[in-house]
Point group: C2
């Protein structure tokens, strides 16, 4: 049973593609109360559900939890696979410090399933609202799941599925939101990136250092450094004397160059042609007084395309042609939460605090607190997010609009950014995707984004943002994968090796040993951190072996991926979804089912020689070593019975598990996806 319940007059996010005939609009308080009272649409299916607050700025839904109830979903959130016990905020956030207490990351994915093993029922909820939602999943009160929507106007999609498996509930949701983006085949290859690669020479060096060691490679990424002063849709001619020549020379070697595109456009109304044109055509977000909203990001003070406006999406998307015309066939969209380093208004707030502080006697323990707070909050400030507006077709805005205006005979609504914040990055990805779909016919384009909202899985993938070279971030990625898959993000993965901080050799190897299984497999790191290309470390042969394994498994990975994209199924599943009745399996948080036949259990602790692995049914252990299976030949195999096992796994081995009787078809390894022989597969 899939129902749509319309609270008030919602903003149309276009997250959903399926028409729901069985919908119910709740316009006033009494209707809403009724829906939750005995016999109401929600209460009948999930007893105890209630609405506990309905005030202009907040609607609170409360769902009672039994002791053993589990919660799955929420996409890119921190925390465990079972989301119970924490508070989550749906709010696209640029925060590179992914400590375990963070409530929000880059994507906002308000879809989750409550499963009650005691009552054998499950219910799935998608809160289709683009502003902030706070989900207290049994944190404050152990037995209550509380959903706080910061508005009264939103769509609630509700799947009540007494007779479905959790996997089927996911499929029902995925059907609702449409098929997942599928990347070009080469994007399953190994990709090397670093904030810092800025010149033709950098690209050539990266290519050569891999190739001369026999390390496979399919793509090299360009971070902001390739641009002229970090301006979108420019290439610095001092760094690239012939950009398209360089791109095509590398493409002849089957190396794809993937540049970054940032959300902000340099605020230069004299010399930046994109800015000039956008101002002329009214494509940028504005403040209440009608002036341009400006904030400091990489190019300096910048303006922000109003991606929520279809005209602006089309206008912005067209600029990608400057790079596709140069032969580019892959992009990553970044800084699109949007990240704001500061605004002039924010700096004024700091100035005021500084003046206040420095006029005092500076003798109290609190003396520097105000300044510190002001300085730390100048970045990504809610004050700034509340200070600008989107101009959207009036029919989309619902009651979220501030006012309506007429332009060229069309009615537009002005909507304050914070109310639709979570759609911003998703709409930027959509702008690019629409352009590629309509204008680039000769090739499939790789596209992934940092920010996202439910629905943007149709336009591109996402990566999990600015993680760190922390051991705990291997496990974080593992836990994010199934939740992201539930929300349709199949082309995803983390920055292998960690973006921030300094990696060591072993940590990079263990990161890779998870990433060989993730569709997006990119080694990426921040400027100022230790150089992280695999050839910077001792014994490059070990890395060659691990990455070669990736290419052997691409036939399985790509085939399973493409099936999942169409079927709405998950490439990575918690063991709970496949072995729900198994008390141990359903609580496992550090292993995943991978495709239809396999299970992975990577090592994520330092100096480890192996780890404990739970085998939920008779399986084959497949052990690939440098001699057996990673690069060539067959792996070592043995059968493991159901139960907890210690599985040794050195950093230069990859060990995974296959359900008994299933066939795994692998290819010979290759230095590039273009060289993979998909015709002659080997059975493991």
């Amino acid at each position: 049973m899939l129902k749509k319940i319309i609270f008030g007059n919602p903003f149309e996010t276009e997250a959903v593609v399926q028409k729901i005939p069985d919908s119910q609009t709740l316009k006033d308080l009494s209707e809403i109360k009724n829906a939750f009272s005995k016999g109401g649409i929600l209460a009948s299916a999930f007893p105890g559900i209630d609405i506990t607050k309905l005030e202009p700025e907040e609607t609170v839904l409360s769902i009672p939890l039994s002791k053993e109830d589990m919660i799955f979903g929420l996409g890119e959130a921190m925390g465990s696979i079972n989301k119970r016990g924490r508070v989550y905020e749906m709010w696209c956030s640029d925060d590179p410090n992914h400590t375990e207490d963070k409530k929000a990351l880059y994507g906002a994915h308000p879809f989750f399933i409550v499963y009650s093993p005691e009552r054998r029922v499950q219910a799935a909820f998608f809160i289709d609202f683009p502003g902030k939602i706070i989900i207290d999943a049994g944190f404050t009160s152990r037995d209550v799941l509380e959903i706080k929507v910061q508005n009264n106007n939103f769509n609630l999609y509700y799947i009540n599925t007494e007779n479905l498996e959790i996997k089927e509930t996911v499929q029902t949701f995925r059907k609702l939101i449409g098929e997942s983006y599928v990347p070009p085949f080469w994007a399953y290859g190994y990709m090397q990136s670093r904030w810092g690669y800025g010149t033709q020479k950098d690209l050539e060096t990266v290519y050569e250092e891999h190739t001369k060691r026999g390390i496979p490679l399919d793509a090299i990424f360009l971070d902001i450094d390739y641009m002229k002063n970090f301006r979108d849709f420019t290439v610095d001619p001092e760094k690239f004397s012939d950009f398209s020549g360089c791109v095509s020379a590398l493409k002849k070697k089957n190396i794809h160059i993937v540049p970054i595109i940032d959300a902000g456009i340099k605020a230069d109304e004299e010399k930046d042609d994109v800015c000039v044109d956008g101002v002329k055509k009214d494509m940028f977000c504005k403040k209440a007084d009608g002036s341009l909203f400006k904030a400091g990001v990489w190019p300096g003070l910048s303006v922000f395309t109003d991606y929520l406006n279809p005209d602006a999406r089309k206008w912005f998307g067209n600029y990608y042609s400057r790079l596709t015309d140069a032969g580019i066939d892959g992009f990553w969209n970044d800084m699109n939460e949007p990240a704001l380093f500061f605004t002039p208004e924010g700096i004024n707030r700091v100035k005021a605090e500084v003046e206040k502080t420095f006029s005092g006697d500076l003798k109290e323990f609190t003396s520097m607190w105000g300044v510190k707070e002001a300085v730390l909050h100048v970045q990504n400030s809610m004050d700034d997010y509340k200070s600008f507006y989107h101009k959207v077709p009036a029919e989309l805005a619902g009651d979220l609009k501030e006012k309506t205006i007429e332009e060229n005979g069309k009615e537009y609504a002005l909507v304050r950014h914070d109310k639709v914040h979570n759609l911003y990055g998703a709409s930027m990805t959509r702008a690019a995707s629409d352009f590629f779909k309509n204008n680039v016919k000769d090739r499939k384009i790789l596209l992934f984004s940092r920010a996202s909202f439910i629905g943007s899985h149709r336009y591109g993938g996402i990566w999990t943002g600015d993680n760190a070279s922390w051991w705990s971030h291997i496990l974080l990625c593992l836990k994010q994968l199934p939740s992201l898959n539930m929300c349709g993000y199949l082309y995803t993965g983390c920055d292998t090796g960690g973006f921030g901080g300094n990696v060591n050799r072993e940590l990079l190897m263990r990161f890779i040993s998870l990433s060989v299984f993730t569709p997006l497999f990119r080694n990426h790191s921040a400027a100022g951190t230790r150089e992280q290309e695999v050839y910077r470390f001792e014994d490059a042969d070990d890395f060659k072996a691990l990455i070669s394994f990736r290419y052997r498994i691409i036939p399985y990975l790509s085939k399973e991926f493409e099936k999942c994209a169409v079927d709405g199924t998950m490439l990575f599943r918690p063991l709970a979804f496949d072995y729900l009745e198994d008390e141990i399996a359903s609580g496992i948080e550090d292993q995943l089912m991978f495709g239809s036949s396999l299970m992975i259990a990577p090592v994520y602790t330092e100096n480890a020689r192996g780890r404990a692995v739970y085998i939920p049914e008779t399986m084959e252990e497949i052990r690939c070593t440098k001699e057996n299976g990673l690069i060539s030949g067959s792996p070592l195999k043995r059968t493991l019975e159901k139960g907890m096992h210690y599985i040794s796994c050195a950093p230069d081995e990859i060990v995974f598990f296959k359900k008994a009787g299933e066939k795994l078809m692998v290819s010979k390894s290759a230095l590039n996806t273009s060289e993979l022989d998909l015709e002659h597969l080997e059975q493991w």
Copy 2:
């Protein structure tokens, strides 16, 4: 073989209590080079060791590592039990954000053991130097352990132990540094603390809320709030109309009140009698120009007792009488790294940066970086640590002295703080300990500290500082315990439930399930975080049961503790120390041997129903539930054979393991240590 090698003319830290006849002084470069060359004192025992840099500000020792070599020790450092693969800084640091990449916490413990399973040798090193030491344990180069001492004058103690077990090497070291502090018996009880308890009413409430629910309790802590304006050795009369009356009334109920003492003294040369007297007697640290060094901490601008000066230690120690005279029998010394919120000089650095920034056009992405950096670095700045001096008896200072002065016929040396930084907190603890030893004869005093250096384990315990309500910090504490024990800290534990951030019920229960085994068992949390007393959460009976178990095991805990303190053995040992030949056991990082007979393996992940546990030899599983063993009665027992097992463990259970054939004697549970019946123990 224990050797002392004297590099140059070191500062006498008094970390070591044992006289080493077999010592060798290396005065000049050629002598030092010889010690490392073939046939030299170090090279003969540990081939390949070398000195790679010897410059005035740095001595670099380099030790080659084989692939499987393990490194143990380093006390309170972050990271795993096997310390290999990271960089550590020996630098007492007030940093409450214990992410896994932090190089230094509150204590500095430059003792470590290198064990080579391949070559079957081990070597232990204690770098007795009170300034900064950087230890790169195979991070930069996988196969090199590099020790960078930021000076040329230090003592190196070296234990080469081909024929000893690792445990025996630890004992050799512990004999060198003297017996561990043993707390009063009541300090093995459950203790409740919170930054915020400030009044008599607070204490009474905490007592009553525990007692009425039958939750055992032995002590309540006072954080800075009990003082008058945060001034050491004061009690705010508005909060306590009769402090000693309150203390004695609670002591009649066997509740001990444990106040905090901070390192800084309010810089108030007119009205603060401690400050006035200290200035008169020259007891505070001074800057190069002879003026008082002042920095902002809790009381506002403060001065800092020169604890490295024996006269100042004695002077400061005497002030504890103001509280011991009021009946107090426990203290915690805090902020003694020393933590510095800011100095007037530091604020001037911020001002300069602010002026520079705000005179610019603020249009670049870097516009706010300088201000942010300046503001963040105003706290605990190296510039400030380099700006003040200690006055120590000249014979202690070695070549670390800046200059010598004569006062009252005695020669003193002035030593810049950063060169002896790591001794500061340790010396504060020593000041208190010396006072109690010499002046409080009627009772044993509980004493523990935040900052520490090797040797201060003789004066008191330490807690592991400002951790957070993070799941990973349960495991962090577990990993710190054996390393702290190696350095003599037996009376130790973490802030149960986490100091910073917000706990939930389950996390608090799992924290408690580790802390029931740690000698220091204190629930403590920061102001502004969620209230963390166990009675704030649903079903207090569950907490009552877990804490009651603690009291049942105190006979074992206290007996084993006191044996370890005298014998120089470890209460908590890595499995590697007991089962070195077992490939699996020696790599286990989430279980510990506890005393002579037991093994613990607490659950440290959320929503878990149990965990994998490696049983290294035939053991009995002892399962205590609310009905069986936690409060009364006998636990459920079964025998487990060597191997990896899944062990279920609900949050309201405690499961641990006992070597087959060993006897575990437990008592009946009690509401207070004073009520424990130690005469009639029960055998489990």
